[in-house]
């Protein structure tokens, strides 16, 4: 990877503008398949709520990213209430929300014709990878210092909201697929 300069402000065009969106959700984790609905809603206090239930209305979790970026678990079913699970989901969702992007510590790299916008986190890095012009979002990655943890795509933006989101973990089988539902 070659050090380059980049205009980080350009990334703002890819930041999803979630007012309210409902996604058909498919989760495959360690041989188990789970499907349901993910509702993402921006609340009047600017916090963002993410609520996942199954198609029949049974709620799996209700998370909040506060206006200050703070993560709060409002509810979670017993089977998912494990530190590692919550941490993974929190980090996956934070990458998509594109809110932990401190330009003052960010740097850029070029590799195979792609531009890597790299944002150091408390632990590891968030990569927002675009084409060389910075006008097309190719993928997002969450990485430790040494390896990629999760790879994400956000596709087909309609009114600022991606129609399709895919999250794929590299260290164990855990894939999430979101497809927006027109209500």
């Amino acid at each position: 990877m070659q050090p380059v300069t980049a205009d980080f402000r350009k990334l703002q065009q890819f930041k999803p503008v979630f007012t309210v969106a409902l996604y058909n959700t498919q989760v495959d984790v360690a041989g188990n398949h789970l499907s349901g609905l993910l509702l993402i809603k921006r609340m009047p206090d600017s916090s963002l709520r993410m609520l996942f239930s199954n198609e029949m209305g049974f709620k799996f979790f209700d998370f909040e990213f506060g206006a200050d970026g703070k993560f709060k678990v409002h509810s979670v079913i017993k089977q998912m209430n494990r530190k590692a699970v919550l941490k993974t989901l929190k980090n996956d969702l934070a990458l998509i929300l594109m809110e932990r992007m401190d330009i003052s510590t960010a740097f850029a790299r070029k590799n195979n014709g792609l531009l890597y916008h790299i944002f150091p986190q408390k632990k590891g890095y968030h990569y927002y990878i675009t084409d060389s012009s910075g006008n097309e979002l190719v993928r997002l990655e969450r990485a430790s210092g040494k390896k990629i943890i999760a790879e994400t795509v956000m596709l087909n933006y309609i009114n600022g909201i991606p129609d399709t989101i895919g999250i794929s973990h590299k260290t164990f089988e855990f894939n999430i697929g979101l497809k927006r539902i027109e209500r």
Partner: protein
């Protein structure tokens, strides 16, 4: 004096609405109701209906509304097919559950899945008229001119974690279920309304077939 009476009436009305269900009064003759309910259920061998499901998320001031078709056939067979705004199919056949979402099929044995087992039981109990005998719940029954309302409050630990109460509204005309409302502890609830009910319609067994 009149003022005091008015205040008392208001207080009583408020209390009434909280303790009971608006427009409903406790059923006078519980035994009579039980017999009539069981008798009507005995005569109902199948139900074909449309349904509208409303998931009310109180904290988020949001509602997720979905529509589908419903089939029930004795014994213990239910098919729910959601077609809008997403596709989802669930078949309960005795102690087996088959689920098909947009992409994948899943077979679940209800014996191994407590939640499905419970929901299965509640659903079938409601349709077969045995909901009043389910010892997992404390039951109260209310009525008005056109319908009866069965309130099921869980008494077992697992169910208590899932629901505050489940209410089932029954049409007095034919004792068929018109609304099931599942109230969660969080204040959210799920309401399923059954529309265009067709009792004892001819329903093919194939609809409940699980490979």
């Amino acid at each position: 004096m009149r003022k005091i009476v008015t205040i008392l009436v208001f207080l009583a009305a408020g209390f009434w609405a909280n303790a009971q269900y608006a427009g409903f009064i406790p059923v006078k003759d519980m035994d009579k109701f039980k017999v009539a309910f069981a008798l009507a259920a005995q005569k109902t061998n199948s139900i074909k209906s449309d349904f509208v499901q409303e998931k009310v998320l109180s904290m988020l001031s949001e509602k997720i509304i979905s529509k589908g078709r419903f089939w029930f056939k004795k014994d213990n067979r239910v098919r729910m097919e959601y077609y809008h705004p997403y596709q989802y199919l669930m078949i309960l056949n005795k102690d087996k559950v088959y689920v098909k979402d947009g992409q994948k099929e899943n077979k679940i044995s209800t014996r191994s899945n407590k939640m499905f087992q419970q929901i299965n039981k509640i659903m079938v109990d409601c349709m077969q008229g045995t909901a009043l005998n389910n010892t997992d719940f404390k039951t109260r029954v209310f009525e008005n001119k056109n319908s009866s309302l069965v309130e099921l409050v869980p008494v077992t630990k697992g169910l208590k974690e899932l629901f505050k109460a489940i209410t089932v509204t029954i049409d007095n005309k034919d004792f068929s279920v018109s609304v099931i409302e599942m109230q969660e502890l969080s204040g959210d609830n799920t309401i399923i309304r059954f529309l265009n009910k067709n009792l004892n319609a001819d329903i093919q067994d194939m609809l409940f077939f699980i490979k």
